[in-house]
């Protein structure tokens, strides 16, 4: 479409020329000829515009489709990643990839992909048209193409490297920013704004410098390409001019050549932009695929079938487990069932939380087995395992939204009665009801505005609402006072149906009623028995118990 216009113009020139030189045509003939050309120019102009619009619109829409699809895949992939993955990567890094890098890919699809195709078609078509007129001159006029190919390939390599550095630096900047916002209270408390500014400055500077490098590379590469392109103009005028003078060519034909080159100007200019966006997209794509290609360490095995929970017996058989290189559990064995609750205590870092995390298969053990009702959790679908297990953590994350939505998080369809029932068991209903907006109260990001104990109890209600067969409390009442804690436990016992309960706590009174208590130290079970058994002999448990009794001076219990 674009190529018809130079042709028409060339014809117009030739017509004008013939007119002047020959003067044979009548005024009317010429006028109608000119009119015909004019109408064609308008029609082709409009057609070109419509096609341009369609192309731009499709480019835009396609790019959004691609990037949104990528965004969804990225999102799903992140949701499916194992905890091992999240332990080692910063939210800022993940956000930077999810925002900036996907945008980089989008821009490429929008401007790059369609344009690459267009440039190729135009160069080839122009070459054909030109060769038909005069193949020698065509060769000269298009002599810049190989250089263009070479130089843009080199530029692409350079830019790709630079873009990778830019994106990594942007990732760092995002991380700095994210931490600054998340830790705002610490920053303020220490009056560390200036310190933070300096930190920000260093990374932001780096981004600026790298982007400048990219601009320079682009300018150098683009400049030399355009220079060679303009040399082709000079060569065409010179050699073409000689040809016209020697009578091998008409002026109109030469004008057509120039018109073709003029048409190619725009794509050549676009090309440099394209090279840039390609380079950016390849390295951004690389960063995204780094995440997408990372296999989740916890996936359904091939024969995985849904777990059928009958009674909810959890067994640890000789389980050994480590986070990366740090050993966390060594040969741990125990069994928990509805009639046999387990309590776990131990110093920080002794592996208590590891036990909790292995049951819903947040991680896989290095050796040994974790089974639910006799089936190893690694043999069942991850989804069904998590459905069976309700784990409440010490530092629960609450989402931006109402208290009701937070409690219903695991079961958005739940009715008001079940929400209230769960909140009652978690001993948080009265508190919620005392708020002016009750269950509609919005709790901000990270639940700021609630005390630790309130957040923990909302998290308990959230887990209870799902009615899991197996309940694990990972120090989830640490900020709740002992009295409320005891009432939660009492209410749990009264709840319908049998539950397997594993309680991890440092407050021994929370464990007192467990059927078996394990004392963990350095990932090993060093003592086990009932509360009374453990108190009867000279155990670590007993000294801890005495210590806690002394600390509370008879007040705690």
């Amino acid at each position: 479409m674009f190529l018809f216009i130079p042709r028409l113009l060339g014809e117009g020139v030739d017509q004008a020329f013939t007119l002047i030189q020959e003067g044979e045509h009548t005024r009317d003939e010429i006028n109608s000829l000119l009119l015909r050309t004019a109408i064609l120019v308008v029609v082709f102009g409009l057609a070109r515009g419509v096609f341009g619009f369609i192309q731009m619109f499709l480019g835009d829409t396609l790019s959004q489709r691609v990037s949104n699809r990528l965004r969804m895949i990225y999102f799903d992939r992140l949701q499916a990643q194992s905890f091992t993955f999240f332990d080692g990567v910063h939210t800022g890094q993940l956000m930077s990839r999810g925002l900036s890098d996907i945008e980089g890919v989008r821009m490429f699809v929008q401007t790059g992909l369609v344009q690459v195709f267009r440039v190729a078609v135009m160069v080839i078509a122009a070459a054909v048209f030109m060769a038909i007129i005069d193949w020698q001159l065509a060769l000269i006029s298009l002599g810049f193409v190989p250089f263009l190919a070479y130089r843009s390939a080199r530029l692409r390599m350079q830019l790709r490297k630079t873009w990778r550095q830019i994106q990594d630096a942007l990732g760092d900047l995002t991380t700095t920013m994210q931490e600054n916002l998340a830790g705002v209270r610490v920053v303020r408390a220490f009056s560390a704004q200036r310190h933070e500014e300096k930190k920000f400055d260093v990374t932001a500077r780096e981004v600026v410098d790298l982007r400048l490098t990219a601009a320079q590379q682009q300018a150098r590469g683009g400049g030399s390409i355009t220079f060679v392109f303009l040399l082709a103009w000079a060569a065409l005028l010179w050699l073409g001019g000689e040809k016209v003078m020697s009578g091998d060519m008409t002026v109109g034909e030469l004008a057509q050549f120039f018109a073709f080159l003029a048409i190619l100007r725009f794509p050549v200019r676009m090309l440099i932009m394209i090279v840039n966006s390609t380079a950016r997209a390849t390295s951004a794509g690389g960063r995204i695929f780094e995440i997408l290609d990372l296999p989740s360490q916890v996936v359904d095995s091939d024969q995985a079938k849904p777990l059928e929970v009958t009674s909810g017996v959890v067994r640890f058989e000789d389980v050994t487990f480590s986070y990366k290189a740090t050993p966390a559990l060594k040969n741990v064995s125990f069994e928990a069932s509805p009639g046999h609750s387990i309590g776990i205590v131990g110093p920080p870092g002794s592996g208590k939380s590891s036990v909790a995390n292995l049951v819903p298969r947040f991680y896989d053990p290095d050796s040994g087995r974790v089974t639910i009702d006799g089936t190893p959790v690694s043999d069942v679908t991850v989804e069904s395992a998590r459905l069976a297990v309700g784990l409440v953590e010490q530092d629960p994350f609450l989402f931006d939204g109402t208290i009701r939505d937070n409690i219903r998080y695991g079961d958005p369809e739940a009715d008001e009665d079940s929400v209230i029932a769960a909140a009652r068991v978690a001993q948080v209903h009265d508190f919620i009801a005392s708020l002016p907006d009750g269950y509609d109260t919005v709790i901000g990001e990270r639940g700021i505005g609630l005390s630790g104990g309130q957040r923990q109890r909302i998290a308990i209600a959230r887990t209870l609402l799902r009615r899991p067969k197996i309940l694990i409390f990972d120090d989830s009442t640490s900020s709740v006072d002992a009295g409320t804690d005891a009432r939660i436990r009492l209410a749990l016992d009264r709840m319908d149906g049998d539950h397997t309960v594993i309680t991890i706590a440092h407050r021994l009174s929370s464990l007192q009623r467990s059927d078996e208590i394990l004392v963990l130290e350095h990932g090993e079970v060093v003592e086990r028995g009932t509360h009374d058994e453990l108190l009867a002999s000279d155990t670590r448990y007993r000294s801890l118990w005495e210590l806690q009794q002394k600390q509370s001076l008879g007040v705690d219990e």
Partner: protein, 631 residues
């Protein structure tokens, strides 16, 4: 913006919003209408403000752009001269000269092109850097009430998404400036060559301008909606990454996929709408190009016949009309970018324009060395002025004293400590440090005399050394180690793979909560503040660590004024003064034994079998009524 200021004063607690996620931007802009009325000119004015310091560089860049434009426009002119004067006249020598001139022109093009690109890029990057730095600065200055209610994802989206859109525009501004100059150059050349034909070719321009005026407001709105929807997607992504443990534990992946999908879809349709509006100018411009060309052909051709126009001029015209519309075409393409950038610029300046509620007075001075007397004088405060959290508080803590603040949740304990650091502004009354109003001193100096240990120990993903020495100038490695030894963190730090140089994972997730808390105690100790605030700092500490911490606390509190919020009575008992707060008022004040003798709320709680004040407001009656429910 008045509305923003008003919004800012809303309370962060117990605030309700009718619909959750879609409403997230209400914080930052209230009504579209108001915003649109003042959009264009202000945003551009602000850009120019930021460009100000780079005037010199911009001026040089502009020279380069002019050189570039000349080189750009000279090419067809040289072709015309070549054809008219050399080829048709068969003058080989002149042709060679013109050929060389074209090569020289190409070189000029090269150099000026390089210069304009690099110079403008550099200036643009500096502008962006300044804008981003200002945003960062603004976020450091805004009152905590802002941070409390604005999702991090929303801010990140502005810092990165919107600044990125600006970047895109500034980068394409290189092309745009060249294009505009080219346009002007072409108009001048055409008018010089033949003013009548020139005017005819330009006749379509007014039409284009009219169209643009109609189109602009509609397109802009579409782009703004698109940016906002994009931000909503970002916020949701951030929430899910942060809460991933809950997501997985609750099997919410499918549900979340659907939510994300609907957000992405909304974003998609808004971007399709924006694309449609962005692209609609394209056929219009092309049609007008065609009409202009047709006019030149018909009218110009007729005049060539009449002998009033040279054929070379007509060829040049045809080439120039082509060229004339090329910049218009690219400008049309860049227009979408520009619109997006204006929308983004608006979102950026909106953030920058939120008034800083708590700013240093012009004559604020540093607090300097103080003894550490803390006084609340008739303090009334509320996040929402209509609903005060604290009412008429009078409290004095003498230097070196430890005051324990107890009371039910929501009684205003945390607000009280936050006021001491001037995180929020009092409504009435004053907070005084050594008799000096906190509003009369620089906020920075308050941080140097006051340390805080909060319930949630936030650590940065830096080394332990850097974390413990956080913002304490001149703190040595030895200081850090000493502090950790005193606090009892030294042993576990030594056991880490790289000891004090171990880099913490996000929020210190490779440490237990108790260990993190110990490090935050050490951090406060290194800072060596005169006044210390402990806000439920021991709530997350297990019994093992607690023995250590109790000892550490004694060291930490020695010689300092302390405000301690705790819910364990055992922690509170030893305080010099116990302050019982209920519903925003101090109801009792005294030592442990004095309060027991007074036989008030404190004594009543003490006599029950409960160890905590958490939730007493809602549960006190049931507590007393059913003591047997506790083991």
């Amino acid at each position: 913006m008045a509305t923003v200021a008003g919004k800012d004063k809303q309370p962060d607690r117990g605030r309700t919003r009718p619909a959750a996620a879609e409403e997230e931007h209400k914080e930052l802009h209230e009504s579209d209408e108001e915003m649109f009325s003042q959009l264009d000119s202000t945003v551009f004015q602000r850009f120019f403000y930021y460009a100000g310091p780079h005037k010199r560089q911009m001026a040089i860049a502009l020279l380069a752009v002019i050189g570039f434009t000349v080189a750009n426009l000279a090419t067809p002119l040289l072709v015309k001269i070549g054809i008219d004067s050399a080829i048709t006249e068969s003058r080989s020598g002149l042709l060679a000269v013109i050929g060389i001139a074209m090569i020289a022109n190409a070189a000029l093009y090269w150099i000026t092109n390089y210069l304009q690109r690099v110079l403008i890029s550099a200036a643009a990057l500096e502008v962006l850097y300044d804008i981003r730095a200002d945003m960062f600065l603004q976020l450091q200055r805004l009152a905590l009430s802002f941070s409390d209610k604005t999702p991090i994802g929303a801010l990140m989206s502005r810092m990165f998404g919107d600044v990125g859109a600006l970047q895109e525009m500034l980068e394409s501004s290189i092309e745009v400036i060249g294009d505009i100059l080219t346009l002007i150059g072409i108009v001048i050349i055409m008018l010089i060559l033949d003013w009548q034909l020139g005017l005819i070719a330009l006749a379509v321009m007014p039409l284009l301008l009219v169209l643009r005026f109609v189109w602009q407001p509609i397109a802009r709105r579409a782009f703004l909606v698109m940016r906002r929807n994009s931000s909503i997607v970002g916020v949701y992504l951030d929430q899910n990454v942060s809460g991933i443990r809950v997501v997985q534990a609750m099997n919410r992946q499918d549900e979340n996929h659907d939510v994300m999908d609907s957000k992405v879809r909304t974003f998609f349709w808004s971007s399709v709408r924006a694309a449609r509006l962005g692209g609609i100018l394209m056929p219009t411009v092309e049609l007008l190009t065609g009409i202009a060309l047709a006019l030149v052909i018909v009218l110009g051709g007729a005049r060539v016949l009449d002998g009033t126009l040279e054929v070379g001029v007509m060829i040049a015209f045809l080439l120039y009309v082509q060229r004339f519309f090329e910049p218009i075409r690219t400008l049309t393409m860049h227009y979408a970018v520009l619109q997006r950038a204006v929308a983004s610029g608006h979102r950026i300046f909106e953030l920058l324009d939120i008034p800083i509620e708590i700013a240093d007075k012009p004559d604020a001075r540093p607090l300097g060395d103080i003894k550490g007397r803390v006084e609340f004088r008739n303090v009334t405060f509320g996040y929402d002025p209509e609903r005060p959290i604290l009412r008429d508080i009078n409290l004095v803590i003498e230097p070196g004293q430890t005051a324990a603040i107890v009371g039910p949740t929501g009684s205003g304990k945390t607000s009280l400590t936050a006021l001491a650091h001037r995180f929020y502004e009092v409504q009435q009354g004053a907070v005084l440090l050594d008799g000096i109003d906190v509003r009369d001193v620089t906020q920075e100096s308050i941080g140097h005399v006051m340390g805080m240990v909060l319930q949630e120990p936030f650590l940065f993903s830096k080394s332990i050394l850097e974390n413990v020495a956080y913002n304490t100038e001149g703190a040595t490695r030895q200081d850090v180690i000493d502090a950790c030894k005193v606090i009892g963190a030294h042993d576990f730090v030594e056991e880490l793979p790289e000891g004090y140089d171990t880099v913490l994972e996000q929020r210190g997730s490779n440490l237990s909560v108790g260990q993190r808390q110990l490090l935050s105690f050490a951090r406060a100790l290194v800072a060596n503040p005169k006044i210390l605030v402990l806000d439920e700092a021991t709530a997350n500490i297990d019994s093992y660590t607690e023995q250590v911490v109790q000892k550490a606390l004694r060291r930490l509190l020695a010689g300092r004024t302390a405000l301690v919020i705790a819910h364990r009575l055992s922690t509170i008992r030893d305080a010099d003064k116990i302050v019982v707060v209920e519903a925003g008022k101090i109801v009792e004040e005294g030592t442990h034994s004095q309060l027991l003798d007074a036989d008030g709320l404190y004594a009543r709680l003490w006599s029950t079998t409960y160890s905590s004040f958490d939730d007493i407001a809602s549960n006190a009656d049931t507590l007393v009524a059913n003591p047997q429910t506790a083991t």
